[in-house]
């Protein structure tokens, strides 16, 4: 059953030192800022964060990085014009980085959530990012063996949850959220608001409640 939390701090209380955290968001879009702020307040450290980017400006993920709570980033595109907090940590050797092609990252997470043991992927063949990985030729094409990537916790930003825990998202803020929600031992979701059961058309549910463990509503304002 989905648990509804009063506060973001209560929602992230399941995150422990050393956890691997799947963090939704394409840049700041779809990123659960209130959950990250609560994680900073909670002070959890030694985290591995799996996310598309590595923080921008001084808020959200960048703030978590600045506090030294992250040991390793697994992401696709850390370098942005305002990613200076990550850049400085990386160049000072204070954070590990694993770069993964974006489609491979999301498919590895999907595989974890869908019970797939590993998969052969055509992306990255012959590049640095496939070095040392097993390859296999199938029907005349070369593929790289990729393994699932699961989280201890997923922190997901969504738009609305009903009181079952079914989720809908908003526009391009959907992105990684529905995939990450399936692939963690505990999925914690930040929504703008919750609605009664039946208020979301069942045909329109994007993430079914079975994937959602905790929900906190934080309002529309960031």
């Amino acid at each position: 059953m989905t648990q509804f939390c009063e506060t973001a701090l209560e929602a992230v209380s399941c995150v422990q030192d050393g956890d691997t955290v799947l963090l939704s968001g394409f840049g700041a879009v779809g990123m659960p800022i209130a959950l990250l702020d609560a994680l900073i307040e909670q002070g959890t450290t030694g985290l591995t964060i799996v996310s598309n980017n590595a923080g921008k400006g001084t808020t959200g993920l960048a703030a978590l990085l600045a506090k030294g709570q992250v040991r390793k980033m697994i992401c696709t595109f850390p370098r942005q014009n305002d990613s200076w907090i990550f850049n400085d940590l990386y160049r000072a050797g204070k954070i590990e980085l694993e770069v993964v092609p974006q489609g491979t990252l999301t498919e590895r997470i999907r595989a974890a959530g869908a019970g797939i043991g590993a998969f052969y992927c055509p992306t990255g063949v012959g590049t640095l990012l496939a070095e040392g990985k097993e390859t296999r030729d199938i029907d005349g094409r070369t593929y790289v063996l990729e393994y699932p990537l699961r989280g201890d916790v997923a922190l997901v930003g969504a738009h609305v949850a009903d009181r079952m825990g079914n989720l809908i998202y908003r526009k391009t803020a959907r992105s990684f959220g529905p995939v990450m929600a399936t692939a963690a031992a505990t999925t914690v979701v930040q929504v703008s608001r919750t609605v009664e059961i039946g208020a979301i058309d069942p045909e329109n549910v994007v993430t079914p409640s079975i994937f959602v463990d905790r929900v906190v509503a934080v309002g529309d304002a960031e």
């Binding site: 394409f26 840049g27 700041a28 879009v29 779809g30 696709t76 595109f77 850390p78 370098r79 942005q80 990550f86 850049n87 990386y90 160049r91 980085l97 770069v99 993964v100 092609p101 974006q102 489609g103 491979t104 999301t106 498919e107 997470i109 999907r110 992927c121 055509p122 992306t123 990255g124 063949v125 012959g126 590049t127 640095l128 990012l129 998202y169 908003r170 526009k171 391009t172 803020a173 959907r174 992105s175 990684f176 959220g177 529905p178 995939v179 994007v206």
Partner: protein, 220 residues
């Protein structure tokens, strides 16, 4: 002959070569300019990797919605008939061969169509690949859009890429400010040139070039 086509003219040139009705992904940076030159009547559908089809032009003023951005995280708009989907579906569209054309920026393209566009050899470079590798090997056709020469005047169409690869043998066409090239099995075909003669291109580039008539120029 440097910079014969402006970025805008280059974008217009690429836009004219996209078949009507195509599903197209525009990479970040210069390729994003192509959107401004597509004929609205051509029915080209733009895909953005963060999970949208039929993306509209850049959003301005009241149109800006913080939940609606393109791959470069710039605010964009919806066109009628657009759709949203998650990241796994979006990249399945690429790898599954559903996109007709991907237009990517480039650091280097080799004579055999290898692409390097994600990482330089600079010691303090921060590796960032995004969706480039997925697009390079996934789209049915890959067009690269770049200047032909580096700031130091070095050619970016090369015998072998010296920067780390994005994809092997994945590029179909290279659109530059000085010439447009097609990567063909028999060599690099010059489809158009702007202010440079074929002979000048042969002298400039260390790759086997084929002129408009199909004749292969001898390398010196």
């Amino acid at each position: 002959m440097n910079g014969v086509l402006s970025k805008e003219e280059l974008a217009a040139t690429v836009a004219r070569d996209i078949p009507p009705g195509s599903y197209v992904n525009l990479g970040i940076g210069m390729p994003a300019l192509v959107a401004d030159y597509l004929d609205p009547l051509a029915g080209v559908v733009l895909h953005t990797e963060n999970g949208m089809l039929n993306m509209g032009p850049a959003a301005v003023g009241d149109e800006i919605d913080p939940d609606l951005v393109n791959a470069g995280k710039m605010p964009v708009t919806e066109l009628a008939g657009c759709s949203y989907f998650d990241s796994a579906v979006s990249f399945g569209m690429m790898r599954g061969g559903h996109l007709d054309v991907a237009i990517l920026g480039g650091f280097q393209v080799s004579a055999t169509g290898d692409l390097a566009n994600w990482l330089t050899n600079a010691p303090d470079a921060i590796p960032s690949v995004g969706g480039a590798m997925d697009l390079a090997i996934g789209a049915k056709r890959v067009f690269v859009m770049m200047s032909l020469l580096t700031k130091d005047g070095e050619p970016k169409v090369v015998p072998e890429c010296t920067y780390p690869l994005t994809g092997q043998r994945c590029v179909d066409r290279v659109y530059t400010d000085i010439a447009t090239f097609e990567i063909a099995p028999e060599g690099v075909r010059v489809l158009a040139s702007y202010g440079a003669t074929f002979r000048e291109l042969v002298d400039l580039l260390d790759v086997p070039l084929i002129d408009h008539t199909g004749a292969l120029a001898a390398l010196d």
